[in-house]
Amino acid sequence: MTPKLLQRRRERIDELADAGDAGVSLAKDALRRMRANPVAITGAIIVALFVVLAILAPFLAPKDPRTQYAELKNQLTPESIPGPMPGFLLGSDQYGYDLFSRLLVGAQQTLIVGVLATLIGVAVGCTLGGLAGAFGGWVDTALMRFTDILLSFPSILLAISVAALFAETNQWTVIIAVSMVAIPVFARLLRGAMLAQRHSDHVLAATALGVRRRTVVFRHILPNALTPVIVQATLTLATSIIDAAALSFLGLGDPDPSRAEWGLMLAESQQFIEVKPELAFLPAAAIIIVALGFTLLGESLREALDPKKRR
């Protein structure tokens, strides 16, 4: 190939890559629209506060969340649980732990469960979906049949079935069970987005120009197919936190009361609702606000990225 021809070909590919970079300008455009949307801002603020709180929790907690304090424990009776008192901002929980510190550290544990479950879901799901989308053919058929089966379980039931497999449940079994729900969703999503990209004009053109398949996939298809994955991951964080709470409620959570997680705190404190309603209400409110934050952020992100609504 003469140098001139080669150069022309490179230029044309670069032009095409630019055409594919509609994704980048789309992201910029979406960001601009997100900033103008009060719903998106609300969601982003909630999420940001939650993340900061979760990271700083061990430093912010005034007491050790894993210590059962004698002065609290002594006052525990079936009829009463100590309320706020000096040194203990919100008083005790049903075990004699400091409720305030437990709530703070609970933010961290909740974030860990939510993020890890989502990450596993994204990683495994996107690998499966990516393989299916990149190779097509029988790989695609086989992988998609498999995800179809997983999808044919109602989500909470899938989490239950997986969690029930473990003789002893702990934080990791919860994370794995919850991530199982997300895997087929991400697999289908990435595959669908890749298929849509594959038939888009810039990818067809790149293929027609003789660009290698690997380059087409990594340079032209994947980057553009990732936007829906990001949106879905935000929404999955919300459902993961709620699903983890549901597992705790069903007795499939981490049974260790010293490992404070909001879902567990909520599930275990409900029988004390007559004695000290805050025990249930505070973690419940925390879960609802955080789940709502992720949902608002995800939904407004979805809307901002929806080309149909960009008129």
Binding site: S152, L157, I160, F249, L250, Q270, A291, T295
Partner: protein, 335 residues
């Protein structure tokens, strides 16, 4: 049309087979095998061998699967390790309770969800729309079991106006005909039983309805908004038709197509959703059985219930596809 149904039915068969393999394998994937898991603290080598023989676990795996499949088709899932009763019998008893609860939950979800979604779309951007959208988002963010507990706490403990749990007051001595409390009351003219049943249903049905309702509202709203933008609505306007006709014949008829799919899918999910609600309200249906099976590690019962829920979901999906083909003429001919 018939060909479409047959094809769709045939497509469901491999799904069901793989599903049964998964659930069969699931029980075998238990650490130390199902016998160890079932015996728990009571484990001794002799007991394990005994149970393995009783469950046929000493045979080759494919024989086991074949037998499992054969028994599953005839409804034989073995005996509950907790009660010792055949699992299928327990399921039979829990079934009516769950169906009754799900039915009322779905009536609430559809009856309120579609009008709300439609109104939100018509008054897009106004107060009603914003309120509706925000409440649906909150509705999905609230853990169902907490909502149940909250409702119980407010209406039973604090206000004392609704029964906290169960399907029927102990003092009501009604005749059971169908197993559906409300229906039995009507059939036997024991209307107090029907009313009592409805009072007991109110809270659980509303709680179970929240998520499907939130989803239905959102889909209806989005779908109506889409249809209002369609050219054929403008054509209908250009014909000078009355607003009522346009809304009913041209807007709703098209907008409800995606909603009908959603309704079907949500119905399929109810059985799973019922696990949490039924546990909160001690409902005694399949959800309660499932929650109990998890706590007590009653694997035969758990296996049967999970299989049942998955099969229900697949079947409902199938019915949705078929009914969609009936409603939407484009699908009918296209395939």
């Amino acid at each position: 049309m018939l060909r479409f149904i047959v094809r769709r039915l045939l497509q469901a068969i491999p799904t069901l087979i793989v599903l049964s393999i998964l659930i069969f394998a699931w029980l075998r994937a238990l650490p130390g095998g199902p016998a160890t898991a079932m015996l728990g603290d009571r484990w001794t080598p002799e007991r394990e061998a005994q149970l393995n023989a009783a469950l046929g676990l000493d045979q080759p795996i494919w024989v086991q699967y074949w037998k499992f499949l054969g028994r599953a088709i005839t409804g034989d899932f073995g005996n509950s390790t907790v009660t010792g009763l055949p699992v299928i019998e327990e399921i039979g008893r829990g079934f009516t309770a769950t169906v009754e609860l799900s039915f009322f939950a779905m009536v609430v979800a559809i009856g309120l969800g579609i009008p709300l979604g439609y109104l939100a779309a018509r008054y897009r951007g106004r107060l009603l729309d914003n309120l509706t959208v925000v409440s649906t988002l909150i509705g999905v963010a609230v853990p169902v079991f907490f909502l149940g507990f909250l409702a119980k706490w407010v209406f039973s403990s604090q206000l004392g106006i609704l029964p906290p749990s169960g399907r029927q007051d102990v003092e009501i001595n009604s005749t059971s005909v169908t197993g559906f409390v409300t229906l039995d009351g009507l059939l036997t003219r024991e209307f107090d039983a029907t009313i009592d049943g409805l009072v007991h249903l109110l809270m659980p049905a509303l709680v179970l309805a929240t998520i499907p309702m939130a989803v239905i509202v959102r889909i209806t709203r989005a779908s109506v908004l889409d249809v209002l933008d369609e050219d054929f609505v403008r054509t209908a306007e250009s014909k000078g038709l009355g607003t009522a006709t346009i809304r009913r014949r041209h807007v709703l008829r098209n907008a409800l197509l995606p909603v009908s799919t959603t309704i079907g899918l949500q119905t399929g999910l109810l059985l799973a959703g019922a696990v949490l609600t039924e546990k909160v309200f001690v409902w005694g249906g399949l959800g309660s059985l499932l929650a109990e099976a998890i706590e007590l590690k009653d694997y035969p019962r758990l296996q049967a219930l999970i299989l049942l829920a998955a099969v229900v979901y697949v079947v409902v999906n199938l019915l949705v596809d078929i009914s969609y083909a009936i409603i939407d003429p484009r699908v009918r001919v296209g395939r």
